[in-house]
């Protein structure tokens, strides 16, 4: 069984535990053993801490990386923002000796040291490169062919080498046997970072644009690999409903969609806890059975 140090981040354990529950259910099926990083903190959030102070950003990130280094397994990251922080901080620290020495001198006060031993992997990378899509297909127990899914990779995955993580997300969703719906603006940001500048602009000029395109493409649901995108796509729909508009697009984490394909029941993974009801998805799946 392949072992990984699990980096949960902030939003998933404290606001979206259904994504964590689904991951912990599907992992043994895929021969993955998850080890919690004891004492991990916020990655820290790149949109805020990096802007406030670059040195604080890299030092807190290095502390988290040092915890994983001491566990000697690669890090499996469940959040796009955490992946960006940890991946970029590790790359910087590995290639800039002066910076590494400076950060390690700060970490020495905490009795920790960054070595870079543990590689940072987004879970889409683990699923495609380490587990393999064939292993994923072998575990599918529910036919999802009637489900029309809009894939929202999120900005960070496009920052990976050759945009490979965005491609992996799509490959995984396709491997699950769903119909992937093209809506034309897959690359557009969900609007989450724009919320820091203007809530109105973020919801009406970014998220609504995306939601409208997905609605027009007749998708049954949206699949994401990032808790911030999940939050934005759900909350924007709820805000737009308050304005009298009709938005009922369920948003699912990739882990939840995989769990449904593997035959786990909606209640087991907490689909009933979503802000936008997932009943249309569940009804469609039950219709297929």
């Amino acid at each position: 069984m392949a072992k990984y140090s699990l980096f949960l981040g902030c939003y998933i354990p404290s606001m979206q535990p259904f994504a964590e529950a689904a991951l912990r259910k599907i992992s043994p099926d895929l021969n993955i053993e998850l080890l919690d990083i004891v004492g991990a903190t916020c990655c820290p959030v790149p949109e805020i801490v990096r802007l406030v102070d670059d040195e604080a950003w890299i030092t807190i990130a290095a502390r988290n990386l040092a915890l994983a280094d001491s566990m000697s397994h690669d890090i499996l990251v469940l959040c796009n923002g955490c992946w960006e922080t940890l991946y970029e901080a590790r790359e910087k620290l590995l290639h800039d000796i002066k910076l590494r020495n400076k950060v390690n001198s700060n970490l020495k006060l905490l009795g920790k040291k960054f070595t870079g031993k543990a590689e940072v992997k987004h879970y889409t990378q683990v699923l495609v490169e380490d587990v393999g899509l064939d292993a994923l297909r072998r575990n599918i127990k529910v036919d999802l062919k009637n489900l029309k899914v809009a894939v929202h990779p999120g900005c960070k995955l496009y920052k990976s080498d050759g945009e490979k993580l965005a491609k992996y997300l799509r490959d995984i969703v396709e491997a699950l046997g769903v119909q992937v719906v093209e809506y034309g603006i897959e690359r557009v940001c969900c609007g989450y970072p724009l919320m820091l500048a203007s809530v109105d602009k973020a919801i009406h000029e970014r998220t609504k644009w995306k939601l409208d395109a997905i609605k027009d493409a007749n998708a049954d649901m949206i699949v994401v690999a990032c808790p911030a995108c999940y939050d934005q796509l759900e909350k924007a729909q709820l805000a737009l409903r308050d304005e009298g508009l009709e938005y009922n697009l369920p948003v699912l984490h990739l882990t939840e969609l995989i769990a449904l394909a593997f035959g786990y029941k909606a209640g087991e993974i907490g689909l009933d806890l979503h802000g936008i009801s997932c009943m249309p998805v569940i009804e469609k799946l039950e219709g297929v059975k």
Partner: protein, 92 residues
């Protein structure tokens, strides 16, 4: 703006304190080591889903929160964004 940036751009207006939208997440990191607080409701929800009430991160490990606070103190960020350690909130 860091000290290095101040030397590079001496005429740029120095911002004291954090912009309003940055305050809640930064305050969360300083208080809990994570951006959001893990509420009692969410702890019960986690249990219902078969998860531990709180993951063994800074939500459970107090030393982890203290270590983040030490990093902030070492880098003198608490002064930069006017954090009141006693009241656990921004001064302005």
């Amino acid at each position: 703006m860091s000290e290095k940036e101040l030397k590079l751009y001496p005429l740029r207006k120095r911002i004291i304190g954090l912009p309003q939208p940055f305050k809640p997440p930064t305050s969360g990191i300083l208080k809990y080591g994570h951006v959001p607080r893990l509420s009692g409701f969410l702890q019960r929800t986690r249990s219902k889903l078969g998860l531990s009430k709180a993951p063994p991160t800074a939500y459970q490990v107090k030393e982890a929160v203290e270590e983040v606070q030490n990093i902030i103190r070492t880098l003198k960020l608490d002064i930069k964004f006017a954090w009141d350690w006693k009241k656990k909130r921004f001064q302005y």
